[in-house]
């Protein structure tokens, strides 16, 4: 049973990682659709450069950290969690300050569930290691 849950969590975290790669790539290389979807207007080269590097990196780094946690082990657990938890915390602050939107709620849910999944997977992997 524990093995099954471990694999379900691994697959879930892998899927979330893959889901983050796509918007990360889009923000980095073709941000127009994301700008439109997020109602962000940019009117300078500095601004578009800032968004491509900042937004693309946020998503790509989170995805890479999640993959490193999956494939390279526990030492990447806390960096992944810190990054995801900071996004979640700031999203919640912004939800209170700026108001709500369907995409904000979706983001909060995905980040919250991913954090629980990573915590659960880390716990199960630790238990497996200690049993071995």
């Amino acid at each position: 049973m524990k093995n099954t849950i471990t694999w379900v969590l691994r697959i879930f975290i892998g899927i979330v990682g893959l889901m983050l790669l796509y918007p990360g790539f889009m923000w980095s290389f073709m941000p127009e659709a994301n700008l439109l979807q997020n109602s962000i207007e940019v009117n300078s080269i500095l601004g578009i450069n800032f968004l491509k590097s900042g937004m693309g990196t946020a998503l790509l780094t989170t995805a890479i950290f999640m993959f490193l946690f999956l494939f390279k082990g526990e030492k990447w657990f806390l960096p992944s969690v810190i990054l995801m938890a900071t996004f979640l915390l700031i999203r919640v602050v912004s939800l209170i300050v700026d108001g709500s939107h369907t995409l904000i709620i979706a983001g909060i849910l995905v980040e919250f569930i991913s954090l629980i999944a990573m915590w659960g997977l880390n716990k199960l992997q630790r238990e497996n290691h200690s049993q071995q």
């Binding site: 997020n38 940019v42 080269i45 780094t61 950290f65 960096p79 810190i82 108001g99 904000i104």
Partner: protein
């Protein structure tokens, strides 16, 4: 030398944290300067969350790396600083070079290099 590297890392934590807090709590003023305007709550949320989050997390990772003496944290920061720099390069290539972004780009490369050096120099704590 090792102490100097640790002091420099500690010093780099501060501007990252300040920028992250600014992006989190006062994004409008900060991003208007860059020509970026968020038109609704979702845009503001995305900017606050992703940009503020990345900067604050970066600062926190450096601080935890110093505190716990664990260089995986430095490697994490090096990785995402390199990705930020790569994103800027993509911007330079496709949109043109924004002169104001060049010093920041150099700073990101320097921080990234420093993090790799710290990771290599403190092997006992890996």
């Amino acid at each position: 030398m090792d102490k100097a590297i640790k002091i420099i890392i500690a010093l780099f934590c501060i501007p990252l944290l300040i920028l992250g807090i600014k992006a989190m709590f006062a994004p409008t003023g900060m991003f208007t300067k860059f020509g970026v305007t968020a038109m609704d709550a979702n845009g503001l949320n995305t900017i606050r969350g992703h940009l503020g989050g990345t900067l604050i997390a970066g600062s926190a990772m450096m601080a935890i790396g110093l505190w716990k003496n664990n260089t995986t944290w430095f490697l994490s920061v090096a990785l995402f600083m390199l990705l930020i720099a790569f994103g800027r390069l993509v911007g330079f290539a496709f949109d043109g070079v924004a002169m104001e972004a060049v010093p920041v780009f150099v700073g990101e490369i320097v921080i990234s290099a420093l993090m790799f050096v710290a990771h290599k120099r403190f092997p006992a704590a890996k």
